[in-house]
Symmetry: D2
Subunit: 430 residues, 4 copies
C-alpha cells in the first residue's frame, strides 16, 4: 500500500508513466551534472522526443492532452525524484503550454485572430517536439509586476531590451516567455508578456548560472538587446504591478508544479533512508540501524510531513482543476485571490515540509549524507531553492496570505505594500 499522489486522468496516467521512465534515467547522472554544473541536454532531448514536453498540448493537436493541473503536478514530482534541476525546467514549460492550450477558447483569442493563430502554431510545433519554453520573469532590483525590461512600440512590432535572471532551462530554450514593461508611443506604461524566439537577433543566453543547488537547471541570465518581435508576440496584461485575471491561472499553476518538484525531492530523500521493505535497512556494518529509537523517530516525522505535503498539494490541485475546468464559471478577481491564498498556503506548507524531510534524512544518514558522493547532499541543496521561487517567495507569502484572509486589499505582487516608490517610478532601465 502506497500513499503517493496518483494521476486522476487517463492522459495524466500516460504522462506519469513517461515521467517515471525519465526519472529512472535522470537519477543515474544527477550527481555528475550537479558536480560539474553541466546542463543535461540529452535528457531534455529525450523529454522532447518522448512526448513529455507536449503533455499539456491537446490531443487533437498531437499532444498528450493533459489538462488536469493535478496530473502535471504529479508528473513533475516524479521527475524531481530523478533530478529536480530538470523537473523545475520541465515544470515551467508544461505550465506555459497548459496556459497556451487554454487561450484559443478564451476571450483574448476571440478578440484577436493573430494571437489565436500564433498560439495554434506554437501548440502544433510543441506537439512535434520542436519547442522548449523558458520562463524569463525575474529581474534583480524589482518585483514580479514591475519589470524593468521594456517592450517599446517600434514600427509594426516591439523592441525588447533588458535582462532576466533565473531563466531555468534556458540552454534548451527555444522560446523565452518574458514579462515586460510595455512603453507606448505616448510614453504610457503597462505590464505585458512577450514571447521571444531564441533565434531573435540580440538575444543572448549567458552561461552564468552558478548556485548552491539546482545546478543542472541552467538558470542563466538572458539578455535582450534590441530584440525586435512582431506585435502578436507581445500581449498586454494591464497596469504595472497587477497580475491580470487572465494571467493569474498561469501563476497559480506555475506555483503548484514547482511545489510538485519540492515534494518529489522529499519523497526521494525518504526513499533513500527508509526503504519500505523490511530488512533492507540493515547496512553492511551488520547493525540494525533501523532499531535505533532516534532513527524511528525521524523516519516517523518524515512520514507525517510527506502525508501532509501530498494531501495538501493533491487537494488544492483538484480544487484548481474544478475551478478552471472548461465550461465552468470564470472566477472573479476576489475569488482568484481567495484561491491563490489557498495555493500559497500549500506552497508554504509543502516547501517547509520538504526541507524538513531532507534535513531529517541527512541526520538519519549519520554523516554519510554530507559527502558529495551521496545524493542526499544534492537533495539538501536543491530543496532549499523552493522558498525563493516566485510567485510567491517565502518572504512574500505570509504577508499575502494574512492580508487576503483579513480582507485587506493585496496584490500578488508585493511591491505596492512595501515600496512606496514603485507606483511612482517612471524611469526605466535601458
Amino acid at each position: 500500500m502506497n500513499f503517493e499522489l496518483e494521476p486522476v486522468s487517463s492522459p495524466g496516467l500516460a504522462l506519469t508513466g513517461l515521467a517515471e521512465k525519465h526519472a529512472g534515467e535522470f537519477v543515474a547522472t544527477a550527481q555528475e551534472h550537479d558536480r560539474d554544473q553541466s546542463f543535461p541536454y540529452p535528457h531534455w532531448d529525450a523529454m522532447r522526443r518522448s512526448g513529455l514536453l507536449s503533455a499539456s498540448v491537446p490531443a487533437r493537436l498531437g499532444g498528450l492532452g493533459v489538462s488536469a493541473v493535478h496530473d502535471l503536478v504529479v508528473a513533475v514530482s516524479r521527475l524531481a525524484r530523478g533530478d529536480a534541476s530538470i523537473a523545475i525546467g520541465a515544470a515551467m514549460h508544461l505550465t506555459a503550454f497548459w496556459f497556451f492550450s487554454r487561450l484559443p477558447s478564451g476571450p483574448a483569442a476571440e478578440r484577436d485572430a493573430d494571437l489565436a493563430a500564433m498560439v495554434a502554431l506554437l501548440l502544433r510545433r510543441c506537439a512535434r517536439g520542436h519547442v522548449v519554453a523558458c520562463v524569463a520573469i525575474s529581474e534583480p532590483g524589482t518585483s514580479l509586476g514591475w519589470p524593468n525590461t521594456t517592450a517599446r512600440a517600434d514600427g509594426d512590432g516591439y523592441r525588447i531590451d533588458g535582462r532576466k535572471g533565473f531563466c531555468t532551462g534556458s540552454p534548451a530554450g527555444t522560446l523565452f516567455l518574458s514579462t515586460v514593461r510595455i512603453v507606448g508611443a505616448d510614453g504610457s506604461q503597462s505590464l505585458g508578456f512577450a514571447v521571444v524566439p531564441r533565434e531573435t537577433a540580440g538575444l543572448t543566453v549567458l552561461e552564468n548560472w552558478d548556485a548552491m543547488g539546482m545546478r543542472a537547471s541552467g538558470s542563466n541570465d538572458v539578455v535582450f538587446d534590441g530584440c525586435r518581435v512582431p506585435r502578436r508576440l507581445v500581449m498586454t496584461s494591464g497596469p504595472l504591478g497587477v497580475v491580470s485575471v487572465e494571467m493569474m491561472p498561469m501563476t497559480m499553476v506555475g506555483t503548484l508544479v514547482l511545489v510538485g518538484a519540492a515534494l518529489g525531492i522529499a519523497e526521494r530523500a525518504q526513499e533513500l533512508v527508509a526503504p519500505t521493505v523490511a530488512g533492507q535497512v540493515d547496512d553492511a556494518r551488520g547493525r540494525a540501524w533501523a532499531d535505533r529509537p532516534s532513527v524511528q523517530r525521524l523516519v516517523a516525522e518524515n512520514e507525517v510531513d510527506l502525508t501532509v505535503a501530498r494531501s495538501a498539494l493533491g487537494r488544492v490541485a483538484t480544487i484548481v482543476d474544478e475551478r478552471f475546468s472548461e465550461g465552468g464559471v470564470v472566477p472573479t478577481r476576489p475569488q482568484l485571490h481567495e484561491l491563490m491564498k489557498e495555493i500559497q498556503c500549500v506552497n508554504v506548507a509543502v516547501k517547509r515540509a520538504a526541507i524538513a524531510v531532507v534535513d531529517r534524512a541527512l541526520t538519519v544518514s549519520g554523516g554519510r549524507g554530507y559527502l558529495s558522493a551521496n545524493p542526499l547532499s544534492r537533495l539538501y541543496r536543491d530543496v532549499r531553492a523552493g522558498p525563493f521561487m516566485q510567485p510567491l517567495s517565502m518572504l512574500d507569502a505570509f504577508e499575502y496570505i494574512g492580508k487576503i484572509k483579513l480582507g485587506i486589499d493585496a496584490e500578488l505582487d508585493p511591491a505596492p505594500s512595501w515600496n512606496p516608490r514603485a507606483a511612482a517610478t517612471t524611469a526605466v532601465q535601458q
Copy 2:
C-alpha cells in the same frame, strides 16, 4: 470561496446540515457547561431526536445511511465548532454504529446468528433514537490491548468486573462498549469486547470527570461490579495485546472522527480572530488591529495549518472509504497497518496543527482570549485533549509510525515494545 471540508455523499450532506444546526445551538451554552462542568443533556436529547445519532445506521433500518467515514468526520468537525465536548461523545457513538452497520454483512455475523440478531436490534433501536453508545476502553495502569477488566464465563453468559476511565458521554450512555479480558473456564485469556446495557445490575457511572478541558464531555469512570451479560453481548477478538483484523477498522474510524473534532476546534478559533469579511476586524478601540504585521503573520500561519489539516484529514478519510467500501477486497493485516500508519500520520499532523492554531489565536486576541468569558480560553483547553486520545496517543504514535515504515513488526498496542512483563502477566485485577 471557502475551503472547508464538504461531505461527499448525499446522506453525508444531510448529516452535515444537522451537525451545523446543532452546533449553532451548542455554541450558546458551551461556555456555561465548561464553567460548571455540567453535562449538556438537552443537546444529547436533541441529537437523538434529530436523527444525528442514527446517522451511521443504514437507511433501510431507519437511519440516515451515512457509510462514508469522510462525512462522519466532516459532521464531527462541524459539531466541534459549537462544543467539542459534545462532538467527541457523538464521534464515539457514530463510530460504534458505523461498525455495527457493517457487521451483518461480515463473516462474524455469518458464523453467528445470535450476534447478527443482536446487532440488527441495536441498529433499529438506535434509528429510533433509543441508544447512546459510550466507549469504555481506557484503564489506568495498562494499555489498549491488555485490559484488566475481566469477562469471566459464568453459566450461559459472562460476568464483567473492572473499572474504565475517560468514558466520554457516559451520563447519556445507554450502552457501554468495553474492552475486556475474557477469562475462560480453563483460565485461558483473550481480548474481547463487551456490550453492557446501562440498566445492568452492578454498572455504575461515577460522576467524577474533572479535567482541564472537555469539561462538558462527561468522561467519567464507569465501574462494572459483577455485571452479568448474556453470551451474545461479548465478542472475542483474539490474543491479548493484538487488535484483530475485524476490530481494526473501528479503531481507524475512531481515530479519524476524533481528529475531526480537533479540526473543528481550530476552525472555530480562526473564525473568532479572523472573520473573513473585511472591516469586521476593527475593534471598539478604533484601531485597525488587522493592519498589524504580527496579526497578519499569525493569521497567515493559521491559514497554512488549517489548509494542511483539512487536506490531510480529507484525503485519508477518502482513502479509508475506498478501502472499506462494500464489495472491496478485504485488506490484509500488513495492509491494515500500512493504512493505520497513514491515519496516525494524519492524527499527529492535524492535532499538532489544531493546537498551534488555537495558540496563535490566543496571541492575536491580545490578552482578552485568556479570560474565562472568552471562548478562546475554552478552545485552548479543549484542543489539548487530542494528543491523549487513543488510538494512538502522541506518545505512542511516533514509535508506531516509525516501526511500520521501517518494516519492523509492531502492534497498534504499544505495550509489547516497552513492557516486557505484559505478555507474561497472568494476574488479573479483580
Copy 3:
C-alpha cells in the same frame, strides 16, 4: 549536580532561601486556590512577615538589600515552582521597590525633596512589612504609553479617574502604581505615574478576575473614581507614548522577573515528570515508563529547553546588573533600546521554552496530567499567561526586536507604529 540558576549576591542567597521556603508552603494549596479562584491571603501575609517582600529595600532601611536583578529573578523563579499566581504578584512588588530603592540616589530625587521624602517613607514602611505594591498599568483599548486614566491638576494635588485591568495581587495591594495621562490646567497632556494608596476615597478593587490560568493571582480591575492624591504622589515621565529613560529600567526589570516566573513553572513541570533520582520514575503499574523512547525523547527536549531558558535569563540579568550598577555610566536612550531588545529576545525565548516544556510534560504524563487534580493541568494554563504580559507581549516583541536590530526608530510602546491615530488623540475617557 544541578544546573538551576543560583543567586550571585549574599542578600540574594538569603532571599532565595526565603523563596524556597515559601514555595514549599504554596505548593500545598496551589491546586485548591486554582480551583476556587481564591486569593491566597495567608501566603501574602507570610511573605510580608518573612521579609521577602522587603527584599529589594536597602539593608540600612531594614530590607534584605537585594540590588541584583539576577537574584530577584532567581527568587521569583523559585516562588513560581510553588505557585506562579503568587510569584507574579510578588515579582511586580519587588520590581517596584527595586525601582524605589534607586530613586533617592537618582537625579529626580535631587531635584525634588518631596519625592525623596516620600520614597524614603515608602521604603521604610515596606521594610516593616506594611506595604504591598500593586502595578496597575493595563487598560483595555489602548497601549502602555497612552493611558486613558487621567490625573488632572486639582488644587495642590491631582484627581485620578479611570479603570485599570490585570492588577495582579490587587486583593493584597496597599499601594497602586498606575500609569496616568497627566492633564495640565492648560489641557496639555503627558505620560505620568501615580502612587495611589488603597485607602484613597474613590478607589475600588473589583473582584472580577476570572481567567483560564493564574487564577489565584487576583488580577482584578481597579477603578479610580475621583481619587485625590497629593502632588508628590504623581511623577511626570514625559510625552505620551514614550517610556522615559528614567522609567525604562523599571520596565526591563519588570519584564525579567516575570520571565523568571515562566522559568519556575517549567522547572516544576519537568520535576514532576522526570525526578532526577534513578528508579523514582517507576510507577505503581510496575512499568518502567522511563524506558520508553518517547518519554526519553520528550524529557531530553525539555532538558534542552530548560538549559536554554536558564542560560538566557541568567546572562541577560547579569548584563542588566552590570549596566545599572551604582557608579556605572548611565546608558543613553539608544543603548537602553539595545539592552531592551536583548531583554525582549530573552522574554520571547524563555516563555516559548517554558510553554513547550509544560506541553511535553503533559504528553509524558499520559493523560493523567489533563485531570484537574494533577498540578500539570494548572501549570499548563498558568504558563500560557506569559506571552500576554507587558512589556512586551509576544505580539509586540518581534516587531520591536526587528526594528531595533535594523536601526529603525522604535518605541517600546508599539502604538505609534500601528495606530496612526494615537499621536493625534486628544479625547480622554472620563
Copy 4:
C-alpha cells in the same frame, strides 16, 4: 552595545584578538577555498606563526596560557566568522593541547614519567609553532568507543593498523591523535589513544575529502598501515565502549569548541543580512528592504536565536571551567555524565539555532544568497556539518540526555544501547 561573547581571562583576550585578526584574513579567501575545495595552507601557517595554535599551552612553556575553555570557545567562534572550515580544525587542535596542558599535573603523569616527558616535549614544540594536532577518531561502521583501528603490542612499542575518516585539518597535521583498540599479547582488548607523528612510515593522508560543506577543512581519511610507534605514544583508556573519566574532559571541551564554530557561522550570517548601523540596509535598488515586516520578523527571530545560543554556550563553558579548575574537586563519573548531559543540551540547542539563523538569513537575502558567489550559500552548507559531529551527533544526543536525566545508565558511546553485538564483538578489522 553588543552582546557577543567576550573572553573572561586576559590570555583569552589576547587569543580573541588574534582570532579576530585571522578571521579578517580568512574571510577574503573563504569563497575561493570553498569553491575549489582547496586547503588553506597559508592560513594554517599564519596561525602557527601568530601563536594562535599554541594558545592553550601554558605561558611558562611559551604558549598564550589560555586555560579557560570559555575563551577557547570564544576564539573559535571568531575564527568561524571568517572561515568555519579552518575554525573547526583549529578547534580540535586547541582541544588537544588544552588536554595535554593538564596532563602533567594529573595522576597519569605522576604514574608515568615517560608520558610526562613526552607531553612536556609536545607542549614546547607546539609553543614554537611546530605542531598541528589532527584528531582521528571517526571510523565507518562503528562508534566512538569501539574503534576497529588496532594497536597491537609489538616489541617495545605498538603497531597501528586501520583507517580513520573525517580527519579535519589533516593536510596541515603533524600529529595524528587516534582512538585505537589496543590488542594485548594475550588477545585482550581495550580502548586506547595513540599519538602518531606524520612522518611515521605507513601513515598516509588521503586527499579524498569531498563534501557538501566545510570544503576547505581537509577532513580526509588517514590510513595507518603497520605504523610503529613507541610505547609512550599509546595511552590506555580502559574497557572498549567506555570513555574513561580521564578522557571525558577532552570530549567535553571538544564538543564545546565545535559548538563555538556553529555560533560563529550564525553570527556571520546575521551580520550579512542585518548590519547593525541604521541605513546600511538600504540596497542599490533604492528600496527600504528593512521596512518589510517579513524581513523584520526573520531578523528578530534570528536575534532571539543568537541570544539563546550565546547565553547557553557562555554559561556551560563557564561551568566547565569552574569544575575543571586546578585545585578543584575532581568530579565523579556520575557527575561527569551530569555535566556532559548539560553540554549536550547546549550542543543541540546552539546547532539547531545556528542552522535556523542561517536559513532565515537566506530567506531574507531574497534569492541572492542562493548563488555560489554569495557567502550565505557557503554558510548554509557549512553550518549543516554541526549535527554530525561527535560527541554527540544529533542522532545520539537526545537518547543520551534523556537517559541521564531519567537516571538510566548510559555511556557516552551510544553503541551498547543499540548494537547488541558490540560487546560481543571480538573480530577485529586488519
